[in-house]
């Protein structure tokens, strides 16, 4: 099953090394991480070593080799958000969910990611859960927003 989807993603691109990053980005988008089989199939497709793709996957920040949570919390720590208090929000999320940036909750519900400027600095500090933007975030708003996603999970 997974193999079929992976094949389909890989076959969108010609068998050239220069498309490796694009393929990995597509896998990332579909699975929200890059499965091991994906790297192996891709290495066969473009004719390079798995290790080379592995080093690309660790170099580019947007790519992840670990499965992630059902809800992705992207907290902007770009400069504008930083000086308007994003660090407090990192700590707040840690208090609420017990996860630090890059980590996933034990129940697999949430992953916290720190990102750089989301292009909405005017609304700083900004948090995005899945696709929904929350601007001018405060610690006060945090519990109820996260609560909504928790409720959904039940």
């Amino acid at each position: 099953m997974a193999d079929k989807i992976l094949k389909e993603i890989i076959d969108r691109y010609p068998r050239e090394r220069r498309y490796a990053l694009a393929v990995m980005q597509d896998m990332q988008r579909h699975y929200s991480y890059i499965p091991r089989e994906g790297l192996e199939l891709l290495a066969g497709h473009v004719g390079c070593k798995v290790a080379e793709l592995y080093s690309m996957a660790t170099f580019y920040k947007a790519l992840s080799l670990k499965p992630r949570g059902k809800h992705i919390i992207k907290l902007c720590n770009g400069t504008a958000c930083h000086i308007r208090g994003s660090v407090n929000l990192i700590n707040g999320i840690n208090r609420e969910l017990g996860i630090a940036p890059g980590e996933t909750t034990e129940d697999g519900e949430f992953t916290l990611e720190l990102v750089n400027c989301l292009g909405s600095c005017a609304l700083a500090p900004v948090m995005v859960v899945d696709e929904t933007y929350y601007g001018k975030m405060t610690l006060e708003k945090l519990p109820s927003i996260l609560g909504e996603y928790r409720k959904e999970a039940k």
Partner: protein, 599 residues
């Protein structure tokens, strides 16, 4: 008559629900058609730069602009403005004296701006090539097709255009080098990586006016003699990738790109390469490595990319904003472009004015305008009328500029002479509640993560600086730390391979230069004057200023504030985590800070 409703659908306004607003306008206008004597169209535009007050809705030709529009306002706008021809007063912007303003040019945020790179954004639908054409689009390319390579380069030389990606390298000179190469294949590239963690100028152009970037890149292709080009856009910029990809298709369908450009027999093909989100990939040699499908690490120069770049072929890389200026230069002439700006820096520059200013957003102003004008007139001054402390320009490679330098003109050369730089356009304003040591730590942490690690001075220098700065912020600073930071910084300026490492110490060196006392307060005074570093700050309520409004108690995430309504409140130091939320919430300035607990 016809009226157009321009609904801002840039990232900021979309985040505030502008898509639903545009949909509702379309649906209701169709429904109400019978009562309107005018014909109305809805247009979805790119970012108007004033996202903080979004969603924005403009009505043309009345030239009325509404801010913070809600779904529930749509019907009233249709009835009052589209049908009735009158403005809805409560949705207008209030200027500094509280007067409502109707027109965009009357808004103090927009009034001093002069738009070249952003000229079309907010007026055209980025997905419609007809809109771009109606605004004079592809005229520059048309003209370039009638010129020789040298004539194009000469025109750009006359304009004085320098690269907007940060370094300010003269565009014509880079092109000249690539043009002189005798090679079968050459490439032109657009740098849309925008790695500065606090900026979004290029994104706004790519999203809001993709054809102008394509036209600029096509002009570059003609000048250097390339038939192929790529636009490197970071993958996180999903809307930018989508709009540029669609624009390429459209431009090919209309013959502005493809095998026979505007019937000239010339071939120009572009493709989009999605970047992997690494800051160093914005450096042109790393960008090229990334385009080739490799790990994006910089290479030593020479050879310069204009001689040996992508896949070994001569390659010129230009920034998005640089390219967006080119159609205007070719269309209206280099001389006209050069009539704006200063001696060494011609034209306008786009800035992302953010941080602790009242009006934040994207602004485009002539080169040479002072920082003070930018921050106080356009930005409206500091939030809450607090004292200004510094402005950080140039992103992680830039520096912090103190108050006594606010009257300096903003251009490529002036700020550089002061140890800072204009950079690609990030402009972050800080007040007395921003800690300069912590800001330096923030940038160094960012760079330590983003350094590709290829050269030791960069990798190790950043690691060491980060350790020292973290110690200072967490209350473990030692005598001699400042001098050590300075010597590491100077070593890196000399020894690193690429500009990431060479400029990485700028935020540290400039904050030490202009705010040394703040470093010293952390190290020997055991206090963070801004009240930011939690280990060196304790919060208390000043009883005589406290009105007992309870705002602080509501804002505290850990229940450390107690008190009765209308009576002075109290902070329990054992519970307080020094987050500062109460201080932000208090409207009477009753929350004060001191140094480390027990000092």
């Amino acid at each position: 008559m016809t009226r157009t409703v321009l609904v801002c659908c840039g990232t900021g306004c979309l985040a505030n629900g502008s898509k639903a607003i545009a949909d509702k306008f379309e649906a209701l206008i169709a429904e109400k058609k019978a009562d309107a004597r005018t014909e109305c169209f809805v247009k979805r535009t790119g970012c108007n730069g004033f996202c903080e007050n979004g969603p924005l809705v403009k009505i043309m030709p009345d030239d009325i602009i509404y801010y913070k529009v809600k779904l529930s306002d749509v019907e009233e706008i249709i009835d009052t403005t589209l049908i009735g021809g009158k403005p809805v007063e409560r949705l207008l912007y209030k200027d500094d004296k509280g007067r409502p303003v109707t027109k965009q040019e009357e808004n103090p945020f927009y009034a001093p701006q002069l738009k070249t790179a952003l000229r079309n954004i907010g007026f055209i639908d980025p997905l419609k090539v007809e809109d771009y054409l109606a605004a004079g689009g592809y005229e520059g390319l048309k003209k370039a097709l009638t010129m020789t390579q040298d004539e194009i380069i000469e025109e750009v030389k006359q304009s004085g255009l320098r690269g907007r990606g940060g370094a300010g390298f003269p565009t014509w000179r880079k092109w000249q080098t690539a043009r002189e190469q005798n090679a079968e294949v050459k490439y032109v590239g657009c740098n849309g990586d925008e790695g500065d963690p606090g900026a979004f100028m290029d994104r706004s152009v790519l999203e809001g006016d993709p054809h102008t970037v394509l036209e600029g890149l096509a002009i570059a292709a003609l000048a250097v003699g390339a038939e192929e080009g790529f636009l490197y856009i970071r993958d996180e910029y999903a809307l930018a990738v989508k709009n540029v990809t669609a624009a390429i298709k459209d431009a090919e369908a209309h013959g502005f790109l493809g095998d026979n450009v505007m019937g000239s027999g010339r071939k120009i093909k572009f493709s989009v390469v999605r970047g992997g989100g690494a800051f160093v990939c914005g450096e042109e040699t790393a960008l090229i490595a990334s385009v080739e499908g490799k790990v994006g690490e910089p290479k030593p120069r020479p050879p310069f990319p204009a001689i040996k770049g992508a896949f070994g072929a001569p390659t010129t890389i230009n920034n998005v904003e640089t390219l967006a200026n080119l159609p205007v230069i070719l269309r209206d002439g280099g001389k006209k472009f050069a009539s704006v700006g200063t001696e060494g820096s011609k034209g306008t520059k786009v800035f992302a004015l953010v941080g602790k200013v009242k009006r934040t957003g994207l602004v485009e102003i002539p080169m040479g305008v002072t920082l003070r004008h930018l921050i106080y007139d356009i930005g409206g001054g500091i939030q809450g009328d607090r004292p200004f402390k510094a402005v950080q320009t140039g992103g992680p490679s830039g520096g912090c500029i103190p108050e006594n330098m606010l009257d300096l003109p903003v251009d490529f050369d002036t700020l550089k002479a002061k140890g800072a730089m204009m950079g690609s356009g990030g402009m972050i304003v800080m007040d007395d509640r921003s800690c300069m040591v912590e800001v330096a730590r923030y940038y160094i942490e960012f760079l330590a993560e983003e350094s590709c690690g290829k050269c030791t001075p960069c990798r190790e220098g950043l690691r060491q600086m980060l350790g020292i700065l973290t110690d200072i912020c967490e209350g473990r600073g030692k005598k001699g730390d400042i001098e050590l930071l300075e010597s590491i910084g100077e070593m890196m300026q000399d020894a690193c391979l690429c500009a990431l490492g060479k400029t990485a110490a700028n935020p540290v060196l400039t904050t030490i230069k202009y705010f040394r006392d703040e470093y010293e307060a952390h190290i020997s005074g055991h206090r963070c004057p801004a009240g930011v570093c939690t280990a060196l700050t304790s919060f208390k309520v000043e009883a005589d200023k406290c009105k007992g409004c309870t705002m602080c108690a509501k804002a505290c995430p850990v229940g450390a504030v107690s008190g009765e309504v209308k009576k002075p409140h109290k902070i329990d130091p054992a519970k307080c985590i020094a987050c500062g939320s109460c201080r932000e919430a208090c409207r009477f300035g009753a929350i004060a800070t001191e140094g480390r607990k027990g000092k």
